[in-house]
Symmetry: C2
């Protein structure tokens, strides 16, 4: 909340300065604001205002502001810039990973044009090479900026190299050692460089049992490795084991958050990652597939129920409890599957043995089913729905809760064996299946137990 208050404050302060075209005033106001905070107010600026701000802020800081903007805002902003401006005023100042992110936002032709305007054509070539990697694999997450030294150098040569590259590589956490063919040999921590004597050979302080990732490793794999081994940075190599970049943990943090959001989406029945700011057709497209699955399930339910038309006309009251039986099956099933899916995602579910899990799930769902059924029975008897029907509804409810819970436990474990994303099991798929099965159980029990049927 405090961020939002200071954001509104900043907006109120800056608006009049922008209107007065007061460049000096803007700079003075923004002097003690971090680029990340300045970026926040861009949501509330018109394109003209945004361009003015970027133009008058100190160049280094302006580029940091652009880097910190949400992708949507970057895209909007860059529509107001031509390729030459993007090249000379933005990309030339950014690290390669941030530049690639920006180039990926532009239409292909404009991106190529931007590269052609870069003074540093080596950098342009690097960027062009990096654009070949998808943005969710190691090659797409990495930055080219790193300090690399020959593995047979001394510490003082190494420090000299850090000094040379200090301008370009803003944050240095480790130095990578390579041989004459650029093959990655080891990692040296900055701490060991600080503590070593100047004439020490780098080999002596090199860690050769380091972890590296291939450029085509998935973002999930990189995130898993970095968090398992508590890595701050990880070197990226090509198939020949040549050093081509490095990934820092902050780029993976965003990835972890996005990944964690994906299960949430699947569970909500969204087939792709969408934001409420997306276009109507994109929103519709992300939602329609699972609605269709729900629809087909619903049609299945109605075909099933139609088999009991006679029973319903003889005892219409049986229809009253269809919603509660169907809904409770869905709820219990989603709960069970969510626990398994999250266990799989967090790697906390170590034993994938189905049988003991089912035993436990049976106990849990029996307890919860009994509790719910007892309340339902009480309610029905009080409302005078007839003892027979009330019993049928309550027995159906226990049965459905137990059945749905077991199904919710089995489904994700089976999906993961079939190498299908188990989070699918928590979505409309399991709710729908449980709807159909729950109603089937309910009506069959009714026919079995009620003399009138």
């Amino acid at each position: 909340m405090s961020t939002q208050i200071s954001e509104i404050q900043l907006l109120n302060d800056i608006r009049p300065l922008i209107i007065d075209v007061d460049a000096a005033g803007v700079n003075e106001l923004l002097q003690h604001h971090r680029p990340e905070d300045i970026a926040e107010i861009f949501w509330n600026l018109e394109l003209d205002e945004a361009k003015f701000l970027i133009k008058v802020i100190d160049k280094e800081k302006a580029v940091e502001v652009i880097r910190s903007l949400d992708e949507e805002l970057q895209e909007r902003l860059f529509k107001g810039y031509d390729a030459k401006e993007i090249a000379e005023d933005v990309v030339a100042y950014l690290d390669s990973d941030d530049s690639v992110d920006i180039l990926n936002l532009l239409p292909t032709q404009k991106a190529e044009e931007v590269l052609s305007y870069l003074d540093d054509q080596d950098y342009a070539k690097n960027l062009a090479a990096m654009l070949h990697y998808a943005d969710d694999i190691a090659g797409g997450l990495m930055a080219k900026e790193l300090v690399q030294v020959k593995h047979n150098w001394t510490v003082s040569q190494c420090i000299e190299e850090i000094r040379k590259q200090a301008e370009e590589v803003e944050s240095v956490h480790a130095v990578y050692t390579v041989d004459e063919k650029n093959i990655l040999k080891g990692v040296v921590s900055l701490k060991d460089i600080v503590l070593a004597k100047a004439h020490t050979s780098v080999i002596e302080i090199t860690n050769t049992e380091f972890i590296s990732v291939n450029a085509y490793a998935t973002g999930e794999e990189v995130a898993r490795l970095m968090s398992k081994y508590d890595l701050i940075t990880v070197p990226v190599v090509d198939s020949m084991n040549r050093l081509i970049g490095r990934i820092t943990i902050d780029d993976v943090v965003d990835f972890i958050r996005e990944e964690a959001g994906k299960d949430f989406q699947l569970q909500a029945g969204l087939s792709e990652s969408v934001e409420s700011e997306d276009k109507v057709l994109i929103l519709s497209r992300a939602r329609l597939p699972w609605l269709m699955v729900g629809l087909i399930g619903g049609l299945g339910s109605s075909m099933l129920v139609s088999n009991f038309e006679g029973d319903i006309s003889r005892l219409p009251q049986i229809a009253f409890f269809m919603p509660v039986v169907a809904a409770m099956g869905g709820n219990a099933g989603v709960q069970s599957s969510a626990i398994i899916v999250q266990g799989l995602a967090n790697n906390t579910l170590k034993s994938k043995n189905i049988i003991p899990k089912l035993g436990k799930e049976f106990t849990v769902s029996l307890i919860n089913g009994l509790a719910c059924s007892a309340i339902l029975l009480l309610f029905n008897v009080i409302l005078g729905h007839g003892y027979d029907l009330s019993m049928v509804v309550s027995i159906a409810l226990i049965t459905v809760i137990i059945f749905a819970s077991l199904l919710g436990t089995i489904t994700p474990l089976l999906l993961v064996r079939l190498k299908i994303d188990p989070a699918l099991a928590t979505g409309p798929f399991i709710t729908t299946t449980n709807d159909v099965i729950g109603l089937g159980v309910y009506f069959l029990l009714g026919r079995l137990l009620l003399g009138t049927f």
Copy 2:
């Protein structure tokens, strides 16, 4: 997958060595395995085997293995150790943050006993102080191990201090400067220390515009700051601004993942974070509250439907389509609310203006509602359910999808204004509400449009 294969391989290789009580063999086998990988096989070891392994592995590595174990495994393992062993063989070798995590797993009395057995009583006092912080606030996430220097020192004094503390502080990313009262003055990057001349004053290379967090800041707040400002470490201060610890990003990565899981849980109708390994009663307790909410909603539905008893007995076919109408309302509502909830969680939802969002949501849901209704109509006409009823069902379906989508959009936005976690809106709450409303709309439309009613 590959991890799992190597894990099974390692287990198969190590089992005979454990049976033969072959300490040398175990050590040779594990020489090239990382502690994090060795920790994985503990899931499949008996307590005796685990204790043997810890005993024979090289002490430094054994402690790293213990540190990497899942909490559940740590808890299980420590039941086999007395307080003296935990103090002298484990806690004495660990960083303070990892030690505190372990002490938190022990019964209070045993934890205090462990502290009393520590040789280094300063360390014991530090740990005791850290135990006062909850494990989800900055004080509970921080480690005491850091390099701090006086702000008026020179770079060479600073390097001397790093050398002195090098043993204790394993990974150094930054050095913190404090005044004589231990008040935090600034942060110096290791890179700048490497590049500075020995007689330079530390003040010259100190960044005084650093970010710090208070010991009582929530884990969410720390995670938000570290990912917003791309921080690798952040210093922790007390209310007097005295430096008391630092948090590294790897501890926050776990936190971010847990946090991201919370929305997923709420949406799945789990009232607390549970794992399938938890006890039956804990699992039951986490699930019962939302099942009860669903039950109450279901009872609402059945009371509502009971008002249409006459209609159902006159036209039992109307009951066939209750499940599809109710389910689709739930599905559409969850989709809409999930998009808003995720937007709020990711901070990508900048404008919280309800009106324009509703306009867009109306269009999206109209498109999807029309598509679903058209298919349903086609299906019903083919199956010969009668044109009138088919039309009622389809019109009800569009209405319900639109209504549920709008409700799904409004609810989280209202909840956030009331300072209630908006993720509540994606859970059983919205499904249940939409069940009731959907069925109401359906039966009313039926009565309105069908002459037979």
